[in-house]
């Protein structure tokens, strides 16, 4: 079906001549998934019904204590200093953003009165600004009203370099924020912003702290603010107690701005220990109600689930375990730098060798034997939200075909069975971090490659070193002093713009930028750069999705990376809990106010 025809159909739904359900059914008939069809409608401005909760209480509270377990303990409670998701989650108990991202990446208003859109005039036609109407009658836990001033203040707070806020990412694209009235703000962007829902949305960067308690602690004094450890927010729970690295406790906010919510009277977030122990406490013994990020082998999870007290909740997202193929030469030093962008890999620059490698990664077995429910084989680098997923790719495991390709490319087998091209042996160094799942994957790939006459040398580095940002350490993933390397890239926003910048030419990681930039493979492609720039300012959602699909296809066709498995999030949830809806795009606690228990 052509883009034009699709558009006509969407318009008919908008006009009301075609029912929503019929549209979705037609799309499913065309081989699209139902959520994808819903996404198309949503992105074209057809408003979707709000998320439905199975339990709708008629009064607030009465649920007692909800006990949650994070095997990495939260260390601080100022969302703008959060070191990782553990801190973001802890902050989200007390603080809220203007809007959250639901599991499909939709923008769900929280402190906003409604989601801005092109249709209601919230989003400017040229994409240069977005206007948020704030919910009225929201009060901070200390009784002061929440107003537009708080929103403006958060931007100023984050933008002050002396504050050293880690949430600065989406705010750098903002030129100014106008306070239109006490409950309306207009965010003006530097350039058209198709993903206008980046600032002030989601738990990672969007939560809002009160101006009246933090304005004296902006910039250099930010560390001294007493409320860094005693949050006063707008959220469903008020702060009770916090011990860094151990426990966070909250009690019900009697003035919460959503009627009849939350259900639980107290919340407790305990940290520390290990993932298996956490899984056991929720799934097997039922001592706790919820556990975060269970990085545990699926086999163990299944065994624990037999107890019947809880289950593993698989949360789809965009995180992808992939193998990067170096485009530069890691074995020659140029200007005091290995894998310099000025070099070309002697063997891997041959597209045939790359194609062969792509055929030698047995994703099916890796999913089945190693990851189970926690890793889904995929051919794409960009896998979510569904409207950005390419249908043009497919993965294949075929040693025979790989052999043929290599043979045709002139890589002849030597006496030891290893192929060589122009006298250079097909021997590659394949590195990753130490993690049992990754070592098993390395083995599977190595065995398949051996059958095709490619010898892989395996290297594993402790995660602490591999993911460190120390520019002097040659073993990190950002140096990439190897031919192949494997790790998971996380996709934290429901919009792929930031995620896809890791293949742009201006992000090439190297010595001059202390290996801090995101393009680790150092692949450069003019067409890709052009597509990325076009997507950055394309306001038509359908066209923009097509641009990202094309970007993904370029990366896959050129075998810049070999996607292995999608890594969905895994949480442990007690079987008695209800409405513990998890979103791959937002904090585990994004819907905490709606959780309940039988």
């Amino acid at each position: 079906m052509e883009e034009r025809e699709l558009r006509a159909l969407v318009d008919r739904v908008k006009a009301g001549t075609l029912s929503r359900r019929r549209f979705v059914r037609m799309m499913v008939g065309l081989g699209l998934t139902a959520p994808m069809a819903a996404q198309m409608l949503a992105s074209a401005g057809v408003v979707e019904a709000q998320a439905k909760w199975t339990f709708n209480p008629t009064k607030r509270g009465g649920g007692g204590l909800v006990k949650t377990l994070w095997w990495q303990a939260p260390t601080l409670l100022n969302p703008h200093f959060a070191n990782g998701t553990k801190d973001q989650d802890a902050c989200r108990i007390f603080y809220e953003p203007l809007a959250s991202y639901d599991p499909d990446g939709n923008v769900i208003p929280v402190l906003a009165a409604e989601t801005p859109s092109l249709q209601n005039g919230g989003v400017a036609k040229d994409g240069m600004s977005v206007t948020w109407k704030l919910k009225k009658n929201v009060v901070w836990h200390d009784g002061k009203p929440f107003t537009a001033d708080d929103v403006v203040f958060n931007w100023e707070y984050v933008m002050d370099p002396a504050t050293a806020a880690v949430t600065i990412g989406p705010y750098r694209d903002v030129v100014r924020i106008d306070k239109l009235d006490s409950h309306t703000v207009k965010i003006v962007f530097k350039s058209p912003a198709p993903f206008w829902a980046a600032p002030f949305c989601g738990a990672a960067t969007g939560v809002i702290i009160p101006k009246h308690l933090f304005q004296a602690y902006k910039g250099d004094k930010s560390r001294e603010a007493p409320n860094n450890l005693k949050p006063v927010g707008t959220g469903p729970y008020k702060f009770v107690d916090f011990k860094p690295g151990d426990i966070v406790r909250g009690e019900i906010n009697p003035n919460y701005h959503v009627p009849n919510r939350p259900f639980f009277d107290q919340v407790e977030m305990k940290g520390g220990g290990d993932a298996v122990g956490a899984a056991r406490a929720v799934i097997q013994t039922g001592e706790y109600d919820f556990a975060w990020n269970l990085q545990v082998e699926d086999e163990i999870l299944k065994r624990l689930e037999q107890g019947g007290k809880g289950h593993a909740d698989i949360v789809p997202g965009g995180n992808i375990e992939h193998i990067q193929v170096n485009t530069t030469d890691p074995w020659t030093e140029v200007d005091g730098e290995r894998a310099s962008a000025k070099t070309k890999h002697p063997i891997l620059s041959d597209p045939a060798v790359r194609q062969a490698l792509n055929l030698l990664v047995d994703r099916g077995s890796i999913q089945e034997e190693i990851y189970g429910r926690t890793g889904i084989a995929t051919a794409n680098f960009l896998n979510a939200p569904s409207r950005f997923v390419s249908k043009n790719t497919k993965w294949e495991f075929n040693v025979e075909k790989a052999n043929q390709i290599l043979e045709a490319a002139g890589c002849k087998r030597g006496s030891d069975g290893v192929r060589a091209k122009d006298g250079k042996k097909l021997k590659f160094l394949y590195q990753t971090s130490i993690n049992p799942l990754r070592q098993k994957t390395q083995q599977i790939v190595k065995q398949a490659c051996a059958k095709a006459g490619i010898e892989l040398e395996l290297k594993s580095v402790t995660a602490n070193v591999f993911f460190a940002s120390d520019p002097a350490n040659p073993d990190t993933y950002s140096h990439f002093y190897a031919d192949l390397q494997m790790y998971t890239t996380t996709m934290t926003q429901p919009d792929p713009q930031r995620f896809m910048d890791q293949f742009t030419s201006w992000e090439v990681s190297g010595k001059d930028n202390k290996f801090a930039l995101t393009n680790k493979t150092r692949w450069r492609n003019e067409e890709y750069d052009r597509l990325w720039k076009a997507a950055e300012s394309e306001m038509d959602p359908v066209k923009r999705a097509a641009l990202f699909v094309k970007m993904n296809d370029l990366v896959i066709q050129n075998v810049v990376v070999i996607p292995v498995v999608l890594r969905p999030g895994v949480s442990g949830v007690s079987n008695r809990m209800r409405d513990v809806v998890q979103s791959g795009w937002d904090s585990n606690f994004w819907a905490l106010a709606y959780w309940s228990k039988t």
């Binding site: 260390t75 990672a204 450890l229 426990i247 406490a281 070193v465 993911f467 930028n513 801090a516």
Partner: protein
């Protein structure tokens, strides 16, 4: 004696400087970065990380960083954690009571178990009781605490479902229930630590009593017509305790070491688990402070053991 004490205390100062210099160098040279998580997060621009490193002085050369650390330490400023941006002394003080309660009870349990069993074994050497006690003691100190900890969890929490295996520092119950909950959750960590301690202490106690019981004054006491109980308590155990007391003093740092592992397994929020998480997060100021406290403890307890010797045995004198 007081002169000796003064001299020993003064020697501590250069020793502590030496220890801190070595610790600091190793920590700084170790690979890793406190802002590692930010590095893998595509939402955080690299400048933020660079800015943080510069702000917290991570990019300065090692001697400068060490001098700065010493200067503030001398003024009583322990610095602040890179990860939680909280002052280090606050963090440690928050966790110290839990560690002291767990370690103290473990030590108490060890003494309560080891002294009677060791004594009784020595009174009836090679009896069945002694054989069993010896076997158990050997099992006890050949099993590492992380293993016994997991065994306890499997048996008592998962199979029998008697005890919780997650330690909570704040329990909302009041009155007797509060005490009961605390005792219940402390049973396993205390037992794991205490029994490991008791194992070696039993052997020590047994040897000490065996040494003493043969001595002439014990026979004299019996000949005087003192009852067996009085002889045992007043003349045998009391004298046999001298080496055991020093052993306890010297072992205190070792217990702290064991506590690190046990605290991690049972999620006890003490300084041991603080040390582990800080090491994993490359949080240099916290790691420095905790290891520094540990080294002070080692030095002080060896000094205390020396002093105790002189106190308990007048034949030893220091000059």
């Amino acid at each position: 004696m007081s002169k000796y004490f003064l001299r020993r205390t003064l020697i501590l100062i250069p020793v502590l400087f030496g220890i801190s210099a070595i610790l600091f160098t190793i920590l700084v040279m170790a690979p890793g970065d406190p802002f590692e998580e930010l590095a893998t997060n595509p939402n955080v621009p690299p400048e933020v990380r660079m800015n943080l490193r510069a702000k917290f002085g991570l990019d300065d050369p090692l001697p400068v960083r060490y001098a700065r650390w010493v200067a503030s330490m001398v003024r009583g400023d322990w610095g602040f954690s890179f990860v939680s941006r909280v002052n280090v002394d606050t963090l440690i003080l928050q966790r110290l009571p839990t560690t002291l309660i767990v370690l103290g009870s473990a030590q108490l349990l060890a003494i309560l178990v080891a002294v009677p069993i060791g004594t009784y074994s020595a009174l009836r050497p090679y009896s069945i009781f002694d054989q069993i006690a010896t076997t158990l003691a050997f099992i006890g100190f050949s099993l590492p605490t992380f293993f016994t900890g997991l065994l306890f969890i499997l048996l008592l929490s998962i199979h029998l479902d008697w005890l919780p295996f997650i330690y909570r520092s704040d329990i909302s119950a009041t009155g007797w229930r509060w005490y009961w909950e605390h005792v219940r959750q402390a049973i396993m960590p205390v037992a794991v630590l205490g029994l490991a301690q008791a194992a070696s202490m039993t052997r020590f106690m047994r040897a000490a009593v065996l040494d003493v019981i043969r001595l002439d004054y014990v026979n004299t006491a019996r000949a005087k017509g003192l009852s067996e109980g009085v002889t045992l308590v007043k003349h045998v155990v009391r004298n046999a305790l001298i080496p055991v007391v020093t052993l306890v003093a010297i072992q205190i740092p070792t217990i702290f070491g064991g506590a690190i592992v046990t605290e991690q397994i049972f999620r006890v929020p003490g300084i041991g688990s603080l040390l582990i998480t800080s090491i994993l997060a490359n949080d240099t100021p916290v790691v420095m402070a905790v290891t520094f406290i540990f080294s002070v403890l080692v030095l002080l307890s060896s000094l205390a053991a020396d002093m105790l010797y002189a106190w308990l045995d007048p034949r030893i004198s220091y000059r």
